[in-house]
Each structure stands twice: as C-alpha cells, then as structure tokens.
C-alpha cells in the first residue's frame, strides 16, 4: 500500500466528517444569525426602555417644578389677600378709635355741661330758696322785749348780711328770698305775712368771718342795735347752719325773656 492511496473506508470517513463539519458550520451560521436577531431585538427594546425612562424622568421633574411654582403662586395670592384684609382691618381700627375719641369728648362735654347745669341749679336753688340749705355761717340772736325794732331794722340787718356775702338767710325759721318783704302790723314786725314774736333768731349761710365782721364792725348794726333800749344782740359763728326752704310763691305777672 502506497501512502498516497487511501482505502475506501478512510475516504468514506473523511466524507462523513466533512459533511458533519458542513452541517455544523451551517448550524453555526444559523445560530449566529438567530443570536444576532435576538440581540438586536433585545437591544432595541432596552434602548426604548432607556429612552422612555429619561423622558419620563424629565417630564416628572418639570411636573414637580410646576407644582412647586403653582404652590408659590398660591402662597403669593394668599399673602396678598391677607395683606389686603390686614390693611382694611387696620383702617377700621383707626376709624373706630377716632369714633371712640369723639364719643369720649362728647361724653366729657355732656358731663361738663351737666356739671355746670347742676352747679347753676344749686346756685339758683340757694338763691330762690327752693330747697333747704346747710353750710357754715352765723347765728344772730336778738332779744327785744320792748318791741322797739322796726321792719326797717330787719331790712338793714338782712342787707348787712347780704353785703357780707350771705347766700341764704332765714329769720325765725322763715327763709328770706329775693321777693321777701318786711312790714309791720300791730306793733309787730311781719315777714311775708308771718308775725315775728319773742326773741328773733336770724341764721345766715356764708363765710362766717365776713358775716360776723359785717355785723360787729365798729359803727355797725350790732352797735346800733345796742343803742336801742332793751335790745341785746348776740352774733355766734356756727359750722353748720341750716335754713329751711322758702314758701312757694306763684309768679303771676312776670315772665322770663327767652334767648340771648
């Protein structure tokens, strides 16, 4: 057997081997083709996934930003509204404070007016003798057993007391008012229709010192009365003199003039 000649069996083996290799290579081609398609499609899928992920991420980001911006705007609007309300309330508070001040002033005015009116009324009451009155003053006791004092002496006495600043005067408990008058009847002195008898008691409200001085000054009424026979005069300061109210008197003819 020469080395160049191969037996038939060997040739057959070689052929089978080649066929097997051919099939294998064909399969490999097919497999690689298949694998290529596999990889390609998977790659496309993953590419899409990546792309979509980024798009979604970005969209979500902008969405969040938008929400934040919106809430900022909302906050700004709320702040603006509250500020507006605040300004309105401050205005109202100021307006109300002004009104309170006005009302206070008005009240003060009214109460002042009332006070003045009350004082005036008190003065008028005192002057006219509408109400009984109390206050410091003097008590004058005059004894005149022989009835030598005349109405004009009492007029002089009252006049002296008024000159000394008397605000209210009564004689024997009868109030002497602006319309009072002394007269005489049957040897007695009469005050507004009341006969004055026995010891006279004259009470006067005012500054006790001035009143006393008005009566007891040298050459005054007391010394004059002392010159009358039997007449004794006693002037006494009193911390709390009380005089009664005047009799009511109806005014028929006069009428106050309104206005001015």
């Amino acid at each position: 057997m020469s080395p160049g000649i191969k037996p038939r069996q060997t040739l057959l083996q070689l052929r089978d081997k080649s066929v097997r290799r051919l099939v294998e290579s064909e399969r490999a081609v097919e497999r690689s083709f298949h694998e290529g398609r596999l990889l390609a499609s998977l790659a496309v899928g993953l590419l899409l996934v990546g792309f979509l992920l980024v798009a979604q991420w970005r969209g979500n980001q902008s969405f969040t930003r938008e929400i934040e911006r919106q809430s900022d705007q909302d906050l700004a609007i709320i702040i603006q509204e509250i500020t507006g309300v605040n300004v309105g309330l401050r205005d109202e508070v100021m307006r109300l404070e002004v009104r309170i001040l006005d009302a206070e002033r008005e009240t003060k005015d009214t109460s002042e007016l009332l006070n003045e009116a009350a004082e005036e009324l008190d003065a008028l009451k005192l002057m006219t003798g509408l109400d009984p009155a109390v206050g410091p003053g003097v008590l004058v006791r005059i004894e005149d057993p022989e009835h030598v004092l005349l109405a004009q002496d009492f007029v002089a006495l009252v006049h002296e007391l008024r000159a000394g600043g008397a605000e209210a005067i009564s004689v024997n408990g009868r109030r002497v008012t602006a319309t009072s008058g002394f007269s005489e009847a049957d040897g007695h002195v009469v005050l507004d229709g009341m006969r004055l008898t026995g010891g006279y008691v004259v009470e006067a409200i005012g500054d006790a010192g001035s009143l006393e001085q008005a009566l007891t000054m040298p050459g005054g009424l007391e010394s004059r009365f002392a010159s009358f026979p039997g007449v004794t005069t006693e002037v006494e300061r009193d911390g709390s003199v009380s005089v009664g109210a005047a009799l009511e008197r109806r005014m028929t003819y006069g009428r106050p003039v309104e206005g001015d």
């Binding site: 596999l38 499609s41 998977l42 899928g45 993953l46 980024v54 979500n60 969405f63």
Partner: protein
C-alpha cells in the same frame, strides 16, 4: 451581554441629547408603559437564556404590554377609577422582579456558580 448594556446606555444618552419631556397629562400613561417595557425586556432576556426566545414574539409582546398598560390607565381615568393604574404598576412590578430572579438563576447556572 455587553451589547445590551450598550443599548440601554445609548437609549439614555439619546433621551438626554434630544431632551424629550413628557407632557404632564401623559406622565401616568408613560410611567406604566415604561414599567411594561422594562418587564418585556427582562422577559426577553430570560427567554434568550432559556433558549426559547423568538424575536417576533418579543416585539409583539413588547408592543402589546406597553399599549395595554397605557390603555389600562386610560380606562381607569375614563371610568373614574384613577387608581386602576396601580393595578398595572403592581402587576408589572411583580413580573419585573420575577423575571429578574429567573434571569439571575439562569445566569448563575450558565456560569456554573451553583
């Protein structure tokens, strides 16, 4: 394997370069669709490892999954059950983890780590 990583990286760069932004109204739709796409991709990888991959089935599954996911969100919004998208999210989330574990198992088998 390297090709797949490159593909996902390419997708991300493409998205970054084109600066595409999803409108606010479509956020939920695309969110669920992305989940569906991720699930399909993982499913494809799993199928490839199991030698059962079929490119047409993969492409079709990818498309129908994403579209169906978006459709579920749409239906939910239409019938007043906006939370319906949660069903899709949960389902796809579970499938993603399931596929992931299978892929991991197959890879370990292949590399004879077990």
């Amino acid at each position: 394997m390297l090709v797949l990583l490159l593909a996902i990286a390419l997708g991300v760069t493409l998205g970054l370069l084109t600066s595409v932004s999803v409108p606010v109204e479509l956020l939920t739709y695309l969110g669920v669709a992305v989940l569906a796409a991720m699930d399909s991709s993982l499913g494809g990888i799993r199928a490839a490892l199991e030698q059962t991959f079929h490119d047409r089935a993969f492409a079709f599954g990818f498309l129908t999954n994403t579209l169906m996911a978006a459709f579920i969100v749409f239906i939910g919004e239409r019938i007043g059950v906006r939370e319906l998208y949660l069903a899709a999210v949960v389902a796809f989330g579970m499938r993603i983890f399931d596929n992931l574990s299978q892929v991991r198992r197959l890879l370990f088998q292949r590399w004879r780590w077990e």
